[in-house]
């Protein structure tokens, strides 16, 4: 039996904002709901209207999926641990007297950090699935690049290893591992 137009339009609204696999699952559920109303004796059009009404506002569904978006979850966790990792690095660089980095490099690092925080915050607060997924994935890439640059930078500059610096490097390495692991589900369609 062909899908009623009302149901295809409803699924089109969802498809514009959600990955295909999620829409496929919702489509199956909506078709089952429609069939259930048909079995109760409703006319096809009324059954379609009842099924769509029972499923609820598409924006509510999209917002629900945005909340469980893996990229959004990872962004929230990274924003949560960010101040602690940042404090470790500040303490490490101050105690190692490694602040003598050229001003342009410091400005570049500051700009990259601000951009990564903005991307992660957009993902963490987003109610639109695709925006949250894209900004989250970009933020995860950014955090990997930032942490890798920090570790490589102090290693190449020959900064003496102290326990504070070791702690900061370990925190960054752990963050790289977490972000890399979170990237796969974040990029999944």
């Amino acid at each position: 039996m062909p899908e009623p137009r009302l149901i295809s339009s409803y699924l089109d609204v969802l498809a514009a904002q959600l990955p295909a696999s999620i829409v496929e699952e919702l489509g199956d559920g909506l078709a089952e709901t429609h069939r259930s109303y048909l079995r109760q004796g409703l006319a096809p059009d009324l059954a379609a209207r009842s099924a769509v009404a029972e499923f609820g506002d598409p924006e509510l569904i999209v917002a629900g999926f945005a909340r469980v978006n893996p990229a959004r979850r990872a962004a929230r966790r990274l924003l949560g641990v960010g101040p602690a990792v940042g404090a470790c690095w500040v303490a490490a660089l101050v105690t190692s007297r490694a602040w003598a980095v050229p001003l342009p490099a410091r400005m570049l690092a500051g700009l990259v950090l601000a951009a990564v925080i903005a991307l992660l915050a957009t993902s963490a607060l987003g109610t639109r699935y695709r925006l949250a997924a894209r900004t989250g994935a970009m933020g995860l890439f950014g955090i990997i690049a930032l942490d890798a640059s920090l570790i490589a930078g102090v290693a190449l500059a020959g900064v003496p290893l102290t326990w504070v610096l070791g702690l900061a490097m370990a925190a960054s390495a752990a963050r790289i591992c977490y972000a890399a692991r979170a990237l796969r589900p974040a990029l999944a369609r």
């Binding site: 919702l26 598409p58 569904i61």
Partner: protein
């Protein structure tokens, strides 16, 4: 029963709906309707994000199968989900006994 009244309990109800064996989304919703005597008033579409959240938490696992030429996602409880359901049941019994005692008077049974 409205969505806001279900807050905090929906996850346990979904786990309970899956206790009898693997189910797809629509069957989970039907099971919930039957077990609540049709009093569950929740937009059906909002159950699906909740199922994904439980899957991400490792409490259920989802897999695709083909039924009548249509791909269908089925969910089943994991051992962690089974343990979580037992814990939530025990918590609920304690909580409901305490609230019942406070609202209706009478002794509050000691927690198990």
């Amino acid at each position: 029963m409205r969505a806001e009244e279900l807050k905090g309990h929906l996850d346990a109800m979904l786990l309970a709906a899956l206790e009898g064996g693997p189910q797809h989304g629509y069957a989970v919703i039907e099971a919930l309707r039957q077990s609540t005597g049709g009093r569950l008033d929740l937009p059906t579409g909002t159950i699906y994000p909740a199922l994904r959240r439980l899957e991400q938490a490792g409490l259920i696992t989802g897999s695709w199968s083909v039924v009548g030429g249509r791909r269908r996602r089925e969910y089943r409880l994991t051992p962690a989900g089974d343990r979580a359901l037992s814990g939530r049941r025990a918590d609920w019994r304690d909580f409901s006994a305490m609230v019942t005692a406070a609202l209706e008077g009478g002794p509050c049974p000691n927690p198990a």
